[in-house]
Amino acid sequence: MLNPNNVTVSVVNQPHFIENGALEIPMYQVLNEQGDVIEGAQVPDIDKETALRIFDTMQFVRVLDDRMIAAQRQGRISFYMQCLGEEAAITASAAALGDTDMIMSQYREHAALHYRGFKLEQFMNQMFSNEKDLGKGRQMPIHYGCKELYFATVSSPLATQIPQATGYAYGQKLAGKKECTLCYFGEGAASEGDFHAGLNMAAVHKVPCIFFCRNNGYAISTPASEQFAGDGIASRGLGYGIKTIRVDGSDALAVYHATQLARKTAVEDNAPVLIESCAYRLGGHSTSDDPSGYRSKDEEKQFGSSDPLVKFKHWLEQKGWLDAQDEQVKLEELRKEILAAVKVAEVIDKPVFEEMFTDVYAEMTPHLLEQMNELKAHIKKYPEAYPVTSGRIV
């Protein structure tokens, strides 16, 4: 503290206003559009295994997204959200973490979960709300969560995970674990009050938390220019006294490096870090959305040019780490696996009716027991009306 007001003390005698542009916040890039290392750029320490695992995940998610959007169109699932264009941002940041670092995500970050080891059938079970879904079929598709993989269950209300990440990280610090929490959110969610709360508290209470903002230019139909008037989300970091960096979110190497450094700060200095990753949201917001209602094809073309997969692949090939030949075969196989997994998951039984009443509390209350028994009798009376569960009510 400098003084009771906690402000710097230099004095001026002319009124001086700070304005946009007072501070330059450049964007960190390692790879250029093609995927070549930019001259003079610092390439992070990354081994072949990690690099390939990142690439595999990016590819997996690209194909998964493509297939599941098709599945949604066919009416097999009700809803889907893809991360087209943001694969590098999500995967490379997750790759820079430790296995037991906590991830709290928004919803567009299933790549991080896959990187952690969530299996294809686990994705499917969630999307088809079947009885093997860890979430017991209660939430809409893509609301994943897995305790074993330190990935908090997705919750639709935006930004609520931000102060939660602060609290979680506080617990990690208190427990003396050299772990951190990484919290993903969109530039839209960053407008919520919970963003302000979470970042300010993280700075004040010095928690090992990385706030990873995916600035993809849109919140559904609302462009970033109608979301905020400052210089991105990064310009807010200073206001909280949080170390901040902006990276090119289509550049897996830059994201990986920035997150590595952020993690070091978080864990070693018990200090939060804000990363703003910029990568255009190439696809629609979700399968319920049609971007042609609010943005032009021209815009999509102009900003969608820099495909994170193409860039990273180019770099891997240059490193001699990737064999381009296998590519098509591998993708074809992946498609087949996914389709097969869809077919398995969609016929697995749905959760039994009792699961509607469990987990509201640790133990079922007398009220819920009463309500459950009443409902059970009712379903038995009208089994055709409740086909999802009536078959297994005894």
């Binding site: 935006l158 407008s191 109608e226 509607m356 009443f357 009220h367 459950m372 409902l375 009306a385």
Partner: protein, 325 residues
Amino acid sequence: MARINMLQAINSALDITLAEHDNAVVFGEDVGIFGGVFRATSHLQEKFGRDRCFNTPLVEQGIIGFANGLAAQGSIAIAEIQFADYIFPAFDQIVNETAKFRYRSGNEFNVGSLVIRTPYGGGIAGGLYHSQSPEAYFAHTPGVKVVVPRNAYQAKGLLLAALKEPDPVIFFEPKRLYRASVGEVPEGSYELPLGKAEIVKNGEQVTVLAWGAQMEIIEKAVEMAEKDGISCEVIDLRTIAPWDFETVVQSVLKTGRLVINHEAPLSCGFGAEIAATVQEKCFLYLESPIIRVCGPDTPFPLIHEKEYMPDHLKTYEAIKRSVNY
């Protein structure tokens, strides 16, 4: 008159209001050029300009805070909350500010020209966070009025009335009827009264009451019951706060029985208030206990949506139980 759906009816009410009042402003997440995620505000920005219909940043507490200020200034503030499930970040602005603005200032200031529109309710495979029916929270909050229309015609007439009402109104729109409810709706302006329930059907043996999207559910149940020879009186409450207890009490004094249906969880839902009031005012006339057919006391589960919903079968059974008590 034209046959339009509820979204078009709502859009028409907004259109009329913006055209009539230079100081009427429509705002919320994605309501601008896109016309809202359900398209209730389609073409309004085109017609009235970006100053009169615009996207806000993604911050519900800000939307309602802004709306309170704008209404206090005297403008007609028409705020959209994208889903009723997302009204909770604005809860403080509504409960501590909107609802108490006039009272706390001794009528120096008020936000009577505020209407908050928000789609509510289940039945669209929305799971926990695109299905909630939070009207009871606001019914426990003196100072706001709460309105829920059951079809396109009602939606337009009630919304236009809400926009004229000198008190802040929360207008819950049954989203599963947005496109499904189609009917004859006058093109021009008309108003339906706030604070007045409507007796949709006269009957003798049991009063069956609901609001919003559940009206078609109870009507279906009543159809079944009438086939069994049970004569039902059907009431659409329309306004939850302040509710028209007189109409309801009159009806129950006649029928001696009451079945209430709502989607929200049973415990402390608005059905509780109705039951508590009616048992007091109709004590000697009640032939059987008032029955509530409601959502159970759980969050709204995606896969068990059918099981969760207080549907026509559950209502039909309740009507029979009520009559055969």
